[in-house]
């Protein structure tokens, strides 16, 4: 689920099988415990223009990462940061118009609508690089994954730059994930604790981007916290089999929690995130964000709990 630029190159654009498989291999570094790509829209429920706009943000974020951090960093693009970009733009900007651009990864493809660069896309690009860097660090350390180590080499320069730009954000993510790693190392049996640690990490990220939002800051904080909890829980739930096989820590296995308990916790966290989200006043992008928060994430929870997957690739 973690991204990389040529997401829909299968159907459109140039077939670049070799290049694509290389990209997939690298950007899928530390596969399994992905922790990215859960906050996505329910495509079937989007209007065509909303889907086009969603993709325009995704492309816009990809370009922002490329412009800010170089080509290699684009491989670590993910949907959750696309959500962050759409949210930050929706909070701070009236609807921007897209421009038509051709993707360098699909040189024979049509020109596609792309969101032109802006401050919020840059912010989401910073977040993307920082989250991806620390995530790779965790994988390289915990799982001794050579892919993650390779990914870290690719991303090192970008991270250095992002850290220089946003030291507070980088520290917040580093500290939060270190706390989480400590809980995992001591085989924490309390389901709330690791989810809480990851939730607080994402809360600090959201707070970092809440400047100028005034009274909406607590709502952003709560959205970040509960969305973080939800991501952690759904990720851990889906990784049970893999973690059991590898003998790595899994919060649900450690707590001996069943599907009913997992479902309650995921739904509760998501519903709290939705309640907080609904307190935000958006200047634009309300339709897409409503789709992601109210429909996409809820459907994703159900599919994690054993329901059928209804959503195709975005």
């Amino acid at each position: 689920m973690s991204g990389g630029p040529p997401v829909h190159s299968k159907k459109r654009g140039a077939p670049l099988p070799f290049w694509n498989s290389v990209l997939k291999y690298i950007s899928g570094a530390g596969e399994g415990r992905t922790m990215f790509g859960y906050v996505t829209p329910e495509k079937n429920e989007l209007k065509v223009r909303e889907l086009a706009r969603y993709r325009a943000y995704y492309c816009g974020l990809c370009r922002a990462i490329g412009d800010g951090y170089g080509e290699a960093a684009r491989l670590f693009l993910n949907y959750d940061c696309a959500f962050a970009a759409i949210l930050l733009c929706g909070l701070n900007r009236e609807g921007d118009a897209c421009v038509l651009r051709r993707c360098a990864y699909k040189p024979l493809g049509k020109k596609e609508p792309v969101m032109p660069p802006n401050e919020q896309l840059e912010a989401a690009a910073d977040l993307n690089v920082i989250l991806a860097w620390h995530k790779l660090g965790d994988d390289a350390r915990d799982e001794r994954s050579p892919k993650a180590a390779g990914g870290r080499l690719l991303l090192a320069g970008a991270h250095k730059k992002a850290r220089r730009k946003r030291p507070a954000l980088d520290d917040a993510v580093a500290e939060g994930l270190a706390e989480l790693a400590a809980l995992e190392r001591r085989d924490c049996r309390e389901l709330d604790a690791p989810a809480d640690a990851f939730g607080r990490t994402l809360r600090r990220c959201f707070e970092h981007f809440s400047d100028g939002l005034g009274s909406m800051r607590p709502a952003m904080a709560s959205l970040g916290y509960n969305l973080g909890k939800w991501i952690y829980l759904i990720d851990a739930w889906e990784d049970r089999a893999r973690d059991a096989k590898l003998g790595s820590y899994n919060a649900f296995i450690a707590a001996g929690a069943d599907a009913e308990r997992a479902g309650f916790l995921m739904n509760y966290s998501l519903n709290e995130a939705i309640a907080a989200y609904q307190l935000l006043s958006l200047a634009s992008n309300a339709e897409i964000l409503d789709n992601i928060m109210l429909t996409g994430c809820t459907a994703r929870t159900l599919s994690a709990l054993g329901g059928e997957r209804t959503n195709g690739p975005i």
Binding site: E190, L191, G263, N267
Partner: protein
């Protein structure tokens, strides 16, 4: 303030449409949905705005409505409850006051000092856990309080709200849809069932089968 924009309706909306939009919004920003005091404040602000917009659009004079009087008004946090009168009543009252003042650490310290682990203890600790985002523990503790004293309306209400919020979100019921939808299959199934029952008793509901 543009009342149409606040209620999210068109300028040519009918009174019924305005009322429907208003009721949906009141449900959406209902204070029961928000545990955190700062979020509750935000929701209250929204409600105030929504009430004002509704008053403007339903042509009520601003003087007679005076804030939320004519529309929805907040019921307030049920924290004044607590008719508790068992052992350690003074400590429990102090813990409850601290929870209401959102001093969660202080409330925890008071509760930790109490040896009795009764329904009230689990209830208050559960509410603290809920505010802190420890939903798994909150359900465990509030559940213990509720099952120990099912007759206590405060525990029952907290447990019910908690369980509802743990249901998947559905747009129609605003939060944690507890309502079960009735699909076409349910209707047909029900009719066939009724038909069979009628036939057993000698009658017939659906002639052809």
């Amino acid at each position: 303030m543009d009342p149409y924009k606040v209620l999210g309706v068109n300028r040519d909306a009918t009174q019924e449409e305005i009322r429907a939009a208003y009721l949906a919004l009141v449900k959406k920003y209902h204070p029961d949905r928000y545990q955190d005091p700062s979020l509750k404040d935000l929701a209250d602000e929204r409600l105030k705005e929504i009430n004002e917009a509704y008053d403007l659009l339903t042509k009520r004079s601003a003087a007679s409505s005076n804030g939320g009087a004519s529309g929805y008004s907040e019921a307030g946090y049920s924290g004044q409850g607590g008719s508790y009168s068992g052992p350690n009543a003074a400590e429990f009252a102090r813990a409850r006051a601290l929870v209401n003042a959102n001093d969660l650490e202080g409330a925890k310290r008071v509760l930790d000092s109490i040896q009795t682990r009764n329904a009230e203890w689990y209830y208050l600790y559960g509410i603290i856990s809920l505010r802190e985002g420890w939903y798994d523990r909150a359900r465990d503790f509030i559940g213990r309080a509720y099952f120990a004293e099912p007759g206590n309306p405060e525990y029952a209400q907290a447990y019910k709200t908690l369980q509802n919020t743990g249901n998947p979100y559905s747009r129609s019921s605003s939060y944690g849809g507890s309502s079960r939808s009735c699909s076409g299959c349910d209707v047909c199934g029900g009719l066939l069932c009724a038909d069979c029952c009628c036939e057993c008793m000698g009658g017939d509901l659906i002639r052809c089968c």
